[in-house]
Symmetry: C2
Subunit: 274 residues, 2 copies
């Protein structure tokens, strides 16, 4: 899939991995420390999306990673959650680094170690690389070039889904049931009633748990592009399938249905859309 693009640009995987880790670990200065939580949306409303804590940590990580990427790859674009885009949006044939400095800000502010720094490399409709680093555990998921592994401290394991095919054996993960509203909730509930176990929470790590065989399905909605683009290569290179509700790659955010096997993905889509 990535052959054409890689011919033009070989990703220096280890170098980029080091940049992600260095930037991500800056967040530890603010994790489980007293901090001022800003409210981007301005209101105190409890509805999802209106309480959107943004911390100094977010900006420190993104600014550091942006600067490092633009210095190393001056012809590339960068698109980050906090600081937006450089260059023209979606210019053809352009490499774009997609940054979510802290995915899981709710986990972050409640002291839970289920947040991470995401980096993706996109070129048109292709996502050539994905990184997820969780600095409290030191776990780094990498799917780029010839690499598709989890660096888990003292050991490195290849990314591989469970391969499970049947919903009634599947473990389903989802960050929060409020991601779904109205008929969407009913659709999600159809899947939830069909699986063996559901667990909420997890944020970006859910896709890592899927890519290492600890869960079989992740279903989420209301995602931003930077929430999900970096995770696409992790799922795909592990042997999984990830699409939106219409069966397309979720490059624009919105829904993500990630599954350990094509059969399970198909079953989940049918339950959602049935």
């Amino acid at each position: 899939m990535a052959g054409r693009a890689e011919a033009a640009f070989e990703i220096p995987v280890e170098e980029v991995t080091a940049l992600v880790r260095t930037a991500s670990e800056l967040a530890l200065e603010w994790f489980r420390r007293p901090l001022l939580i800003e409210n981007k949306a301005g209101g105190g409303d409890a509805a999802l999306g209106l309480f959107d804590p943004v911390t100094a940590a977010d900006r420190a990580v993104e600014d550091t990673l942006r600067a490092a990427l633009l210095e190393r790859f001056p012809r590339h674009q960068v698109y980050g959650e906090e600081r937006g885009r450089t260059g023209a949006p979606d210019a053809a044939g352009v490499y774009r680094w997609v940054i979510d400095p802290i995915d899981g800000t709710r986990a972050f502010v409640t002291g839970q170690p289920l947040w991470g720094t995401l980096l993706g490399l996109q070129c048109g409709d292709e996502v050539l690389g994905g990184w997820l680093h969780q600095p409290t555990s030191g776990h780094t998921y990498v799917a780029a070039g010839d690499t598709a592994v989890l660096h888990e401290g003292h050991r490195t394991v290849p990314l591989a889904t469970s391969g499970r095919t049947s919903p009634d054996q599947a473990v389903l993960l989802c960050t929060h049931p409020d991601m779904f509203v109205g008929a969407e909730s009913e659709a999600f509930e159809r899947v939830r009633r069909s699986v063996r176990m559901t667990r909420f929470g997890g944020d970006c790590l859910n896709y890592g748990f899927l890519a290492t065989g600890y869960a079989d399905l992740v279903i989420e909605a209301q995602l931003q592009p930077y929430d999900i683009i970096p995770l696409i290569p992790l799922v795909e290179r592990a042997g999984g399938i990830i699409t939106d509700r219409d069966g397309r790659r979720p490059l624009a955010g919105g829904w993500a249905i990630a599954a350990a096997s094509p059969e399970l993905h198909q079953a989940a889509l049918e339950l959602l859309n049935g």
Copy 2:
């Protein structure tokens, strides 16, 4: 509250803390490793409580901790999730150690670091000590004797809730919405609609997040005594309040409503019972 009992028995807090850590860390041999999951309840049903994964890790932790406690305190009783009780149930004036070897088995089997080993020391209606150790982070919450702290790796912080009093400023944690059924769900939803943010997941760590000011409310149901007894001292010694839905200490399990302040606890109870 514990004056009478402590006159009769001074808890060797550091020694017990070391026993908890040593036993708990045995679980790491099975965490994020291929494992066989037994199904205690026998069925494959997706309903909460029927998929109850029990691993060799559970038994290794409990057996080690039981043996160490009974050797050190031969006149005391032990009550654990996996191996049941020693001695007569609820004999008056008897010290009983309450063990949950791995609270959060669902987190454990899905690779999430939100599980822990719980130990409580009960004497009649009093809970004289509580311990929670999470071995992947190395965090140990201790509330016993003169000690009420979180050992967080390189630093030790005193247990103290946020002190928040108003639901509309509160962060609510709960392991899973399926803990509530029917009218219970409606009661929980009344609280959920009143708070600033809700996050699911977390298991025993939720009470630790409350006791260190990262969350303000924890509301759960369908708890077993060993799920909650060890956590009572953590909440109380941090300045929080924890009761069942009737305002009593949740010594028998069931509901737990834990709050950062008496005012917030009262508001939560009124929302639940209104």
